[in-house]
């Protein structure tokens, strides 16, 4: 007890202790955490990061029997071939038009449905409608496509039977290119409109009832209440979802487009994702299709990043 312990020596001692428990000691202390981290890290390494490195075959003339390390490097040839190919503009047009159709016709649907549901005062009615319209969200895209085929096919599909009965003629919905985009959008509306209302209904549930009461006292009718109270309450949700949707204009949903593609509508049906499948997996042009996929991934990443940035500017937290 003879050695005086000053403040500064105590501090130095504490600092040394902190340093000592940092890095290696902490890693040794957390050994179980690192062991638990192994399966997940391996997963991301093998199935996410090795394929990211694998995009380099886009700059090769990759031949499976030669493998990655012995295939010749050919620089940007695959990209040049793609941009010079008339397919490029066809894919870009199809991809963007399909997204545009979806944004114009599908995007507003959940908003309208949420606003209408919000006006319903009978709780049992609202609940029943919600239970029914959420249902298609849970069925697979294959079932949606199968239903579409069974209903719209010529001769036996009931819609064409009705058309035959009423107008004496049938429509080749499934093979006529003009019907491809409308059918895709209708499928999306049927499958996702109900589910899309959830975010908006949650935002609407947070609106203070007193606002409506005050508005009624001031003589506002239902339309004015909708315009001045209800809509502003979900405006930011709408803006953010729209911005984020813009970030994924290149994603058309591979399964849906693939399932509705056939030999007769390929010209309007092909989008980047399905093109990569047909050229890469079905025809085996690995390098060329990887170049197409890489082009889409890079532009897509840029769009997502930009849309998130813009969304943050609007005061929301975005996806990440």
């Amino acid at each position: 007890m003879s050695i005086p312990v000053t403040d500064s020596t105590m501090k130095a001692h504490a600092e040394r202790q902190v340093k000592a428990t940092s890095a290696w000691q902490r890693i040794r202390r957390d050994k179980w955490l690192y062991i638990l981290l192994i399966p997940g890290s391996l997963y991301f390494l093998v199935f996410k990061y090795i394929p990211m490195w694998g995009v380099l075959i886009a700059f090769q003339n990759f031949e499976p029997w030669q493998g990655f390390f012995h295939s010749p490097w050919i620089g940007f040839t695959n990209f040049r071939l793609f941009f010079e190919n008339p397919d490029f503009f066809r894919l870009l047009r199809n991809t963007l038009l399909l997204s545009l159709y979806n944004i114009v016709f599908f995007f507003p649907a959940p908003i309208v449905l949420a606003l209408l549901l919000n006006e319903v005062r009978k709780a049992w009615f609202k609940r029943t409608v919600q239970t029914m319209v959420y249902l298609p969200h849970f069925v697979s895209m294959v079932i949606v496509a199968a239903l579409t085929y069974v209903f719209l096919t010529t001769d036996t599909g009931f819609i064409n039977q009705l058309l035959q009965h009423w107008f004496g003629r049938q429509v080749d919905f499934l093979t006529n290119p003009a019907w491809f985009r409308p059918i895709i959008v209708l499928q999306t509306i049927w499958k996702e409109t109900g589910w899309g209302t959830i975010l908006f209904l949650a935002a609407l549930a947070g609106v203070d009832v007193e606002l409506y009461e005050a508005a009624i006292v001031d003589g506002a009718n239902r339309w004015q209440q909708l315009w001045h109270i209800t809509l502003p309450a979900i405006r930011s949700t709408i803006v953010i979802l729209l911005i984020l949707r813009m970030g994924s204009v290149l994603d058309n949903g591979f399964e849906q487009v693939y399932l509705m593609t056939n030999a007769l509508n390929r010209d309007v049906a092909d989008v980047f994702d399905t093109y990569v499948y047909f050229v890469g997996i079905t025809q085996g042009s690995f390098s060329y299709s990887t170049a197409v996929g890489l082009f889409k991934a890079v532009v897509g990443a840029f769009l997502i990043w930009t849309s998130n940035y813009v969304a943050k500017k609007f005061g929301q937290s975005g996806i990440f």
């Binding site: 399966p39 997963y43 991301f44 009931f158 109900g194 959830i198």
Partner: protein, 293 residues
């Protein structure tokens, strides 16, 4: 509460009618397909549209369950859904638990790498080549392992673990519990309801998965139900010019409409049976995701 004007009442009537029609149109396809699967092909052709068959017959179901293909695909889908979901939960919870500890050395680096993988991916072909070089093509593993973790779910589960009561965890550690013990005896039991939600998320994904089978499974004896359904219903139109879409040999003749509808019903029914649970949990999940984003 609200004073009702004439216009308001008229709106309400229209609104209720519109919503009722919209909801009915949404579920009618299912009712029609169930009715059609229980009717004969002749009735389907002669009666244009009906919701209750005149003569109920189980022939379509008898036929599809007498083939090799359908029962086999059904079992494969059940197998992939059950084991695939267990694999998902194992991979997701172990990683989420480690990353939920804020003082873990290297945590931010790993989190950033995970987030980067959500923005940029190697894409279809490089992933296919990795799975091929692992020898997973034409094995059921290809339908379970490549999607073992959804980065989005991982981050939500990690956030959930972070919000568990920390004093409980501290107390267990003072009592000499290792991190593994804390994970197995405290974190997992406390998270049972949340994990059930994620099991449903993943399970529905596996049952509905068509993409993995399309890319990685050529051997028709290993097709899951969604793949078989696509072949049975669409082959007549889709086989034009695409040899990979040839019919399964056990369906010797082009399937009639009632058979197609029966296959649709069998593929949908398990989903409809768990739907009440799904609706409750999924709605919650969407909102958790939205708030945590």
């Amino acid at each position: 509460m609200r004073t009702q004007t004439f216009g308001g009442k008229a709106f309400d009537v229209c609104n209720y009618m519109f919503l009722a029609i919209f909801a009915l149109v949404t579920v009618l396809p299912f009712v029609y397909v169930i009715a059609g699967s229980l009717a004969s092909d002749e009735e389907i052709t002669s009666r244009v549209f009906f919701l209750i068959p005149e003569h109920v017959t189980w022939n379509a179901y008898r036929y599809i369950f007498s083939t090799n293909a359908l029962p086999r695909s059904f079992l494969i889908s059940v197998y992939v859904t059950v084991f695939g979901t267990l694999i998902n939960l194992f991979f997701t919870t172990t990683m989420a638990y480690s990353l939920s500890r804020r003082d873990l050395v290297g945590r931010n680096l790993i989190l950033n790498l995970i987030i980067f993988s959500m923005v940029f991916s190697g894409g279809m072909i490089p992933t296919y080549l990795v799975i091929r070089s692992l020898g997973m093509l034409n094995t059921l593993w290809a339908m379970m392992i490549p999607g073992a973790i959804s980065a989005f779910n991982l981050i939500i589960v990690k956030n959930f673990f972070q919000e568990l009561p920390q004093p409980l965890i501290e107390a267990a550690k003072i009592d000499g519990c290792s991190d593994l013990g804390v994970f197995l005896r405290i974190v997992l039991p406390l998270s049972k309801p949340a994990l059930a939600t994620f099991a449903l998320f993943y399970g529905v994904g596996h049952w509905n998965d068509f993409y993995s089978a399309l890319l990685y499974i050529n051997d028709s004896s290993k097709w899951p139900l969604q793949m078989l359904l696509q072949q049975v219903v669409m082959s007549s139109q889709m086989s034009i010019g695409d040899p990979s879409l040839a019919m399964d040999p056990t369906f010797t003749q082009p399937p009639g409409d009632s058979i197609k509808m029966a296959v649709i019903v069998v593929s949908t029914l398990p989903m409809l049976m768990v739907y009440p649970f799904l609706q409750k949990h999924f709605a919650k999940g969407v909102l958790i995701g939205a708030i945590k984003q």
